[in-house]
Symmetry: C2
Subunit: 138 residues, 2 copies
């Protein structure tokens, strides 16, 4: 993956070793990760750096936050050309209560949700909990 550096540059942030490492770490995973996950993967780096790196990624729409209801926020890479837009980008998240995995179901966009008169919807969080495909195979 030599394209990572150019990708980060395209997001107008400085390309540092740490950022490349964290980006690659995220792209290797097919599940959302917590800050602790990243922390465990990079013992030498300081928590704050990891924290601020992921926040920067969030600002620049490189990753998106996921609140799956476990109490710890998780993060996952955005799709290409994502702008975290309600209509086009926001998707369903699945949290497996057995293995704890939280997965982006990017194909499952958020359905149109009706809200009562007077209310204006700007953002939707849709999390389905249950058991994932891997856990159901056992």
């Amino acid at each position: 993956m030599q394209g990572v550096e150019t990708f980060l540059e395209s997001k107008s942030i400085r390309v540092t070793a740490m950022r490349i490492l964290i980006y690659n770490f995220l792209s290797d995973k097919d599940v959302a990760v917590t800050l602790s996950d990243i922390e465990n993967a990079f013992d030498k780096a300081d928590r704050t750096t990891l924290y601020r790196t992921i926040k920067t990624f969030e600002d620049k729409e490189i990753v998106h936050q996921i609140d799956d209801g476990t109490g710890v926020t998780k993060y996952a890479l955005c799709e290409p050309n994502c702008h975290c837009d309600l209509e086009t980008d926001l998707h369903l998240h699945f949290h497996c209560t057995e293995c704890g995995a939280t997965i982006c179901l990017t194909d499952h966009k958020i359905p149109k949700i009706k809200v009562p008169k007077g209310f204006v919807a700007e953002h939707v969080n849709l999390v389905v909990k249950g058991t994932c495909d891997k856990c159901n195979c056992d």
Copy 2:
């Protein structure tokens, strides 16, 4: 409301002054409340008691938890005959980013959500964020 005591009894928990007070506090509100909200309303009582009271209520399906993404869990009374069941009881929650209120939209049940093959859905959390009717009147 003199029926509160009988109601609590019907849930097979001991009827205490504190529990009646908290139940009434919740039923007076039309928005979900945090533990801190309850704490502020009952200065004399210990935080732990309030915490455990609400947990008991939760166990007995008297209240349900709401994770609106603000980081603090909120609670609201269940509807009569609620069993927090996915099909019949789970409903949409609205969080107003302006006034901070989180509201049960009990009329808005969770729509059928499709999940990929192999996944089994057991629970759904659906939170819409935006501005509420009151805030939109200003």
